[in-house]
C-alpha cells in the first residue's frame, strides 16, 4: 500500500478493472495489492458466495431424491412425469435466462426502455415456467400422487418445489428491479442490486439443468 500505490493511482485505471494486461502492473489485481477491489467486484463476490451456499442446499435435496427414488410405497416411479412438460419448462427458463442477459447489456448501456422490455420478457418466461410447474404439480396431486404418497414423491416435491419457490421469489425481485429502475434510474446501488439479481436468475437456470437431468431424464430410465 505504500511504495508503488501512489504511482499506480495516478493512472486512469489503477486497478485494471477486469481488462487484461494492457497498461502495466497487472499482477496487482486479484492478489490484494493496490488497495481494495472496486465495490462492484466485492458485491458480486459476496452474492456469489450466497449462491454457492444455495447450491449446497439444493445438493442435499438432489441427494435425497437420488437415494429415495426406489422408496415408492407401492406407487409409481418417475414414469408418471410428462417429459414434454419438462421440455417446455426448460425452454422457458433458458429463454428467460438469455433475456436476463440482454437486460444486463441494456443496463450496461443505461437504456431504460430496453432494460424494462428485456426484464418484462424475462418475467413473462419465468411466469410461464411457474404456471407449467404448478399445472404439473396439480395434475400429480389430483391423480393421487401428492407429496404424502411416498418418500420418492416427497423428495420430488421438495426438490422441484424448492426450485419453484426460488423462481417465485426471483419474479418478485424482478418486479422490484423494474420499479426501481423506473423510479430511481441507473444509480450505483441500483445497478449493484441488479448485478445480484442477474447472478441469482442465471444460477436458478443452472439448478434447473440439474433437475431436468437428474429428476426427469435419469429418473425416467431408472428401473
Amino acid at each position: 500500500m505504500s511504495a508503488p500505490s501512489s504511482a499506480l493511482r495516478t493512472g486512469r485505471d489503477p486497478y485494471h478493472l477486469g481488462h487484461g494486461p494492457s497498461t502495466g502492473a497487472p499482477e496487482y489485481t486479484g492478489h490484494g495489492g493496490g488497495g481494495p477491489a472496486p465495490k462492484r467486484i466485492v458485491v458480486g463476490y459476496g452474492f456469489w458466495i450466497f449462491i454457492l451456499s444455495d447450491v449446497v442446499l439444493f445438493s442435499c435435496f438432489f441427494a435425497a431424491y437420488t437415494v429415495l427414488i426406489h422408496a415408492r410405497n407401492g406407487g409409481p416411479g418417475p414414469a408418471i412425469f410428462d417429459l414434454r412438460n419438462t421440455a417446455q419448462e426448460t425452454a422457458c427458463l433458458l429463454l428467460s435466462s438469455f433475456s436476463c442477459g440482454l437486460a444486463s447489456l441494456a443496463v450496461g448501456r443505461r437504456s431504460l426502455l430496453w432494460t424494462e422490455v428485456a426484464l418484462a420478457v424475462t418475467g413473462a418466461f419465468g411466469l410461464t415456467f411457474i404456471m407449467l410447474e404448478a399445472h404439473e404439480f396439480a395434475g400429480l396431486v389430483t391423480r393421487g400422487y401428492g407429496p404424502t404418497h411416498s418418500a420418492f414423491l416427497t423428495a420430488f416435491f421438495s426438490l422441484v418445489g424448492c426450485h419453484g419457490a426460488h423462481v417465485t421469489a426471483g419474479l418478485l425481485w424482478l418486479g422490484t428491479m423494474m420499479a426501481q429502475f423506473a423510479a430511481k434510474g441507473f444509480k450505483e446501488n441500483i445497478r449493484h442490486r441488479y448485478l445480484c439479481f442477474s447472478l441469482f436468475w442465471h444460477a436458478l437456470d443452472i439448478i434447473w439443468i440439474g433437475i431436468f437431468t437428474v429428476v426427469y431424464l435419469i429418473g425416467r430410465i431408472t428401473p
Binding site: H16, G18, H31, G44, L52, S59, V67, D205, I209, V214
Partner: protein, 137 residues
C-alpha cells in the same frame, strides 16, 4: 482476443464505474457482448436437445445413457458459467473461481457421499417384511 478486451467479470460490467475526469471506459462493443449471449443460448439449446434426444434408447448404448446425460448436463453448466455468468480467468475472477471450486467440492461430498453411504446401508438392511414376521411370530 487481447486487442478487443473481451474479458468480462462475473455478471458483466453492469455496475462498472466511469472514472471521474478520465476518458470513458472502453466497453466491449454491443455486438461482441451480444454475440457471447447468443453463442451461449445456442450451445445451451443444442446440449438440452441432445439430452432429451439421448434418452431415446436406440440412439446410445443403453447402459451408457446415464453417463451421457451427466456429461451433457455438466457441459451445459459450463456453458452457463462462461457465457451467462461470465466466470472467466481474469484476475478479478480469481476469488469467484476459487469459491466455485470449493462449492463443487462440498456438493460432490454431499451428493456422491450420500449415494455411496445409503447404497451400502440399503444392501446391509434386514428386509422390512422379514423384520415384521420375526416380531409377529
Amino acid at each position: 482476443m487481447s486487442t478487443n478486451r473481451e474479458e468480462f467479470n462475473l455478471g458483466s460490467h453492469i455496475g462498472e464505474e466511469q472514472v471521474a475526469g478520465g476518458p470513458p471506459h472502453e466497453h466491449p462493443s454491443l455486438g461482441t457482448e451480444l454475440r457471447g449471449y447468443i453463442i451461449g443460448l445456442v450451445l445451451a439449446a443444442v446440449l438440452t436437445a441432445a439430452s432429451f434426444w439421448a434418452l431415446d434408447e436406440h440412439v446410445i448404448y443403453g447402459p451408457g445413457i446415464v453417463m451421457a446425460l451427466i456429461v451433457l448436463g455438466l457441459a451445459q453448466v459450463g456453458v452457463h458459467l462462461v457465457f451467462f455468468l461470465h466466470l472467466t480467468t481474469s484476475p478479478d475472477n480469481t476469488n469467484n473461481a476459487l469459491a466455485l471450486a470449493f462449492g463443487v467440492l462440498i456438493v460432490s461430498l454431499i451428493f456422491f457421499g450420500s449415494i455411496w453411504v445409503m447404497y451400502h446401508m440399503n444392501a446391509n438392511m434386514v428386509p422390512v417384511k422379514a423384520l415384521m414376521q420375526q416380531r409377529g411370530g
